[in-house]
Symmetry: D2
Subunit: 284 residues, 4 copies
């Protein structure tokens, strides 16, 4: 049980310059005994209202040095304060406020919301177990208008899809990775580097791109690129929900449409997921 | 990988009387080899477009006798047709069309959408493994205005919640259960019976209700009631996302508010989940 | 300016039997002077926080006899209390809680949310002007599987739609009507009667239906039926956003699909709106 | 009647460099005769499917030089092609694709979706009337963490809001303006300039900001700034839906919270709208 979507804004001031971090926190606990379920005995139950208070108090006391550090702080607090807690899991998601700039000059206290991929993290811990930290990005929408195809696939009597060597590749990415021993990591810096790797692997070189023979291969390229460039990442999961763009057939309208006008097909959509680690892998 | 939200309407006609089933299907596969991820070799890949075609063809040929039977049909088709499929998982969700009635008379071909709890099911199978069938209901919003409290909970310096012996209990339920050997089940009939059990356990007897000492106990009561009344259910998971209703303090406005005007607190919300089986249990 | 989505629950108790009304209120004002906009002088501004308080106080004092009466009460309060208010507009929308029944027996304090068309109303008044009351229903989704066609329409070189004399008619209805002099109306009873009229006009007789030659004609039939049966309605606006269902072409899959499997086309969708009064009309 | 959410992607290629414009178009017509409503006579009705085809054909033939020009093209086409059209209104909204950059180098064919304010426009025309063009921005979320207050407002027995001279100002902006004679306008350039004006007026100078005594005054400042800097704008409407941030009272938790931890109050929210023209004004 736990509390979801604990939303708050943490303002930090350095003289007249203000810094903001608005987050949404979910914190879930499992107790050592299920007596509240079976007997309605609440004596060990930490109310979800108290969970909320603790999250706010930690934000006040420690600030939010990074999403990951804040998630770790919450886990540590529950494990060290309550012996009836058997397991704690924390999820922290950021509202993407960016500092406003006017003619290139940063504003001291004004911000704009720019949701081009949402940063999140998770931390979880079983009593007597290690603290595990995940980080990720979601709702990251990318498109490339060429250097993508899908050919040589399996065919039978239910196949109507034509082969294509030049199609639009468009989708929403969800990436989540785990860190190993994570003492003294610069989580902000690592996260930015991984985001860059994802964009590079998706798009390829700026002057020519890189051919993608399938969504699956693009997912794998992203994973390989991140694992090879960011040593702190142990395992990376990528889900790519793709939007298919249909070239409008304009023959009946007396026109030739050379892939200039395309219609997005939002449902159904394809989905492709893979989890890749450093030595073992499995896909789902 | 797979195809999500394959939406279609299946119309069945008996003379002038029409029957409709509109569903949303997700079908996911795992292949025996990951070569399409690693090498970009698509020769075993069944395109998600073909997956969609197969779902529509099965709906045309077999109809949708029940959501569960349709999910089973899809799993069977993939397992028997494609030897490269190692695992298949199908999710089917229903659009809640109900036949219109005029003065109590059912209309032969007109329907109204009544979303008071969405029915869904899942079927999954590994090659050489058993076919596992789940069914469930989601987005079921219930409220009781008394016979609910929360007292005797754990307190420390972060506790500000007062004890309450008469509060509003309101939440959105998600229930999902698994069937054991499921040959010749009347899935529609069982589903309706389980829905009734959930409502009974939540509300208690119509003339007096039943006291709930916590969300956790209500979740457990629902599970116990379903397991005791419906022998086909093996394991049942219940998630209750509750909306807290705050009694508005009207002292500053010169009024006494005897729990007559309450404001819903939508974020943060508490969540409470439990999975209960016939012999073992664990909560999360 | 004003306050939107003031949400609250009003509980009314008669002995052990409870009645609930959960609503969402928007209240907007225009002041006689724009000085707060031009000069930043707030001395006449009623804070939106005060607006919220007033709505809650009125709910506490008067209850919610009907949505319409409550909207009227709010308008009256602002007009009689604040001479700086030049115009007030109130919107009230209901959360569709229905009493739970167990084996046909109504439960004294348990409710289920059944969103099969949302009831709303509006009241507005200019200083020295009449109080105008509107009521309506929205998000009402209806379908008929036959007795609908579209033929004989205008054609030119951009027309690719075939004529159809038997198609699915499916859409989401928004209806809003105004009352004339509205003293001593039984708003609940009238609203229910209008809802019935809408369903009847959409579906036709239960044993055979009624042919619809276009969405436009169905919209008009609904309006004519309501105006002829409910004398209190002065003007009625109907918007029908229709979902087109495409019969899946299965020739390439070796099958004949006799309108048994259809795929909903959610975007783009057609929309058709008309406002009809007792003597004059205009469509948009 | 008309067609809503006609979504498509227009790709333009200059050698290996690609340009994309993805839009959502709504096109509505009113015919000179209402006979399709009254008599079910469809002979003048242009099917919404044809409307969709026309929009796609115009995109293919003309491209989308700017949203506004495309909306104008659609209006012109309907007015000149169909004499039965009495009125046409077009709405065009953009999916905010931005070119990807790697180390500052623009990518030739890869894009990322960055929804920091959505651009839209409208064009409407009555037969024998002028063509009127509107443009706008919506879903623009801005925040300033100081230089905002609300004092000196009207008080009575329902007032509980304290006066504040230093609060968070946060809200979602909707701005829509009309152009006068709009031949040969550089719509893209003007739109960018107006967006800059909005940000400047909201935030004030980057090194100190500018005090806002109310949401109303901020709305007015935005309007005055746009009207004074962009001569092509005739009338500008601004709606500011504000999110209130509540400073968490931590006294019971033994802490002093100097506006460091704040909780957003998403419902109810205040709303403030004003329409301002060059000579006349009115607020709502």
């Amino acid at each position: 049980y736990g509390k979801n979507t604990i939303k708050f804004l943490r303002v930090h001031r350095e003289g007249k310059k203000h810094f903001v971090k608005e987050v949404e926190v979910c914190a879930h606990l499992r107790l050592t005994s299920p007596q509240e379920y079976l007997e309605g005995n609440n004596c060990l139950v930490i109310p979800t209202d108290t969970i909320k208070n603790i999250v706010l108090v930690l934000a006040k006391k420690n600030g939010i040095p990074s999403l990951e550090q804040f998630a770790i702080d919450i886990c540590n607090h529950f494990m060290t304060t309550f012996c009836q807690v058997a397991y704690v899991k924390t999820y922290v998601q950021e509202v993407p406020w960016r500092r406003l700039h006017e003619d290139g000059v940063p504003h001291i206290h004004s911000f704009i919301c720019v949701p081009d991929g949402i940063r999140f993290c998770e931390a979880e811990q079983c009593r007597n177990g290690p603290l595990i930290v995940f980080a990720g990005i979601k709702d990251l929408k990318l498109m490339k208008t060429t250097q993508s195809g899908f050919e040589g696939f399996y065919k039978n009597e239910h196949t109507t899809l034509p082969e294509r060597h030049d199609r639009i590749l468009c989708g929403e990415l969800f990436c989540k990775w785990s860190y190993g021993e994570c003492k003294d990591f610069d989580f902000d810096c690592i996260w930015k580097k991984i985001r860059e790797c994802i964009l590079e692997a998706f798009a390829g070189p700026p002057d020519c791109g890189e051919y993608s023979p399938s969504y699956q291969k693009t997912v794998n390229s992203i994973q390989m690129h991140v694992l090879s460039r960011v040593s702190q990442v142990q395992v990376i999961e990528v889900v790519l929900n793709n939007t298919f763009y249909n070239v409008v057939d304009m023959k009946n309208l007396g026109l030739t449409n050379d892939k200039e006008v395309l219609v997005p097909v939002e449902a159904p959509y394809g989905s492709c997921a893979c989890t890749l680690g450093r030595k073992k892998f499995f896909e789902a």
